[in-house]
Symmetry: C2
Subunit: 299 residues, 2 copies
């Protein structure tokens, strides 16, 4: 039984990761500014991770063997360029340094598909796809990976970096793609969409939580894509939601501008996740969309 | 006249940078844990740059137009792998974020020749030499450059990154190469040296301070090597010191092990420094060594 510290447990993927970890035999502790909602059998420490001394005190007290560090400020619509990325990187460095000082054995951080130079065809592969972030957010994530990998190698700490791609699931921030389309259709309003032909890799957030928990508890090292490997177009997702709600007439493809630099295709290679971590997602896209629609219908 | 904030002003190169800046017409403010020694006509604010709130308060008070950020923990013999690099990176992010929030116009940070994959022949060039740091220190410096460059681009802040190579000059940390050889010879003891054939680019620290001040006050953007472009072997330096002290008999080449990964050659291309910043170093190697020997003789 290992003592594992989870940060960011109140976030979209953090909640599901906490649920997954608490279903194991391990001792799970979470820490951060916001109390995770739900009734997990877990200890929670309230602190601001940008406060270096508070993080030092936390680590001295709990002495985690494994840290799964999810905390990062990702306010929808702002996080691509926000100065908050500098704080989130600073907080991540606090967590790593203080945990290492308190005897950490394994550190698992969370990256993003936006670290890659996305290939026009095929999938982003952890070993062969070049790294080339072009936002402040992804540059800061990539910087954390570089520093943590180097530091952990020197300190003989096991290190992995779970790269999340796109996520969907109940209780997502309302401004994001699936909630936005769903809520427009639920109100009987036209749903503006950018380019329906964009190909993405959408993972159910509950699978992402399970996958991250499994990665943290494995001994796999280095970057690992936590995704489905299954390409899907934004049009397929929008049509899936519209089909469940019986309102395909309300979809307005092309009515929203594309974000500058949006690539046509972002899909993960999931060979490492499947073969080395031994994880397969459990939810089909249809099942995910059904649960999302049910969630927003009940609001 | 610009208001310029200098961090790290109490350090080896910081003291000379402060002297250089105070000789201009600009308003110079320094900040950090240690009061810079000497009697400059400058304001100093005492604070720990890893303290996010203290850095916020400082920037709100002084609202610098230019920040020249030198502060970084470089304790001799430890800094290559030290966890202190994570704190120094966190402090650097604090400085950038808080200064940007307070209306910063230009940010100049300090990198290192250890960011480069050193070519076996020729010089490290800012535009064409690949980046591939292989220590925690250089990885953290490189991470700061990546994040700061991306953030400043988004925030329309002018950004430059002065890459220092090797330095020499009076008042260096006693464990480093020139002071160590000098002090052995002054005591009439054998001076153990690793590999005399290693080729390096040694700049006088007073020239480095002038060069950094000029870079900060210029509008040149991106990475700029702050070095001499003049290859010199460790043997030439040791022989120079021994010649001044009349004790060539005490030099022991090969008596110290080489640090793992020490490359045979690290020399800068100084085209950007010369042509764009318009700076040339004023000290010959002989002049530098004479001043170093005089400094240690007077201790």
């Amino acid at each position: 039984v290992a003592r594992i510290l989870l940060t960011g447990a109140s976030g979209f993927v953090g909640r599901e990761t906490l649920t997954a970890l608490c279903a194991t035999e391990h001792e799970v502790i979470s820490a951060g500014r916001k109390l995770p909602t739900g009734a997990w059998p877990t200890r929670w420490h309230g602190l601001d991770l940008t406060d270096r001394h508070a993080v030092d005190a936390l680590m001295r007290e709990i002495r985690p063997e494994i840290v799964l560090h999810l905390a990062w400020d990702v306010e929808h619509g702002k996080f691509w360029t926000s100065p908050a990325n500098l704080d989130s990187l600073g907080a991540s460095l606090n967590v790593l340094r203080a945990a290492a000082h308190a005897g950490l054995r394994r550190f698992v951080g969370i990256g993003t598909c936006f670290e890659y130079v996305w290939p026009a065809e095929g999938a982003c592969d952890e070993r062969s796809t070049p790294i080339g972030p072009n936002t402040v957010y992804a540059t800061a994530k990539d910087a954390m990976r570089r520093v943590a990998e180097s530091f952990c190698r020197e300190a003989a700490i096991s290190f992995a970096w779970g790269r999340l791609f796109h996520l969907a699931g109940p209780a997502e921030q309302p401004g994001r793609f699936v909630p936005a389309v769903t809520n427009h259709l639920l109100r009987g309003e036209p749903a503006p969409i950018s380019n329906g032909a964009l190909v993405r890799d959408f993972m159910d957030v509950r699978d992402a939580g399970q996958g991250l928990a499994r990665l943290a508890l494995s001994e796999v090292e280095g970057p690992v894509n936590v995704a489905t490997g299954r390409p899907v177009t934004l049009a397929e997702i929008a049509n899936g939601i519209a089909g469940l709600l019986g309102r395909p007439d309300l979809l307005r493809f092309g009515a929203l501008p594309e974000r500058a630099g949006e690539p046509p295709r972002i899909v993960a290679s999931v060979e490492r996740l499947r073969r080395e971590v031994g994880f397969e997602p459990a939810h089909s896209l249809d099942a995910t969309l059904r649960d999302c629609v049910a969630y927003w219908r009940a609001r």
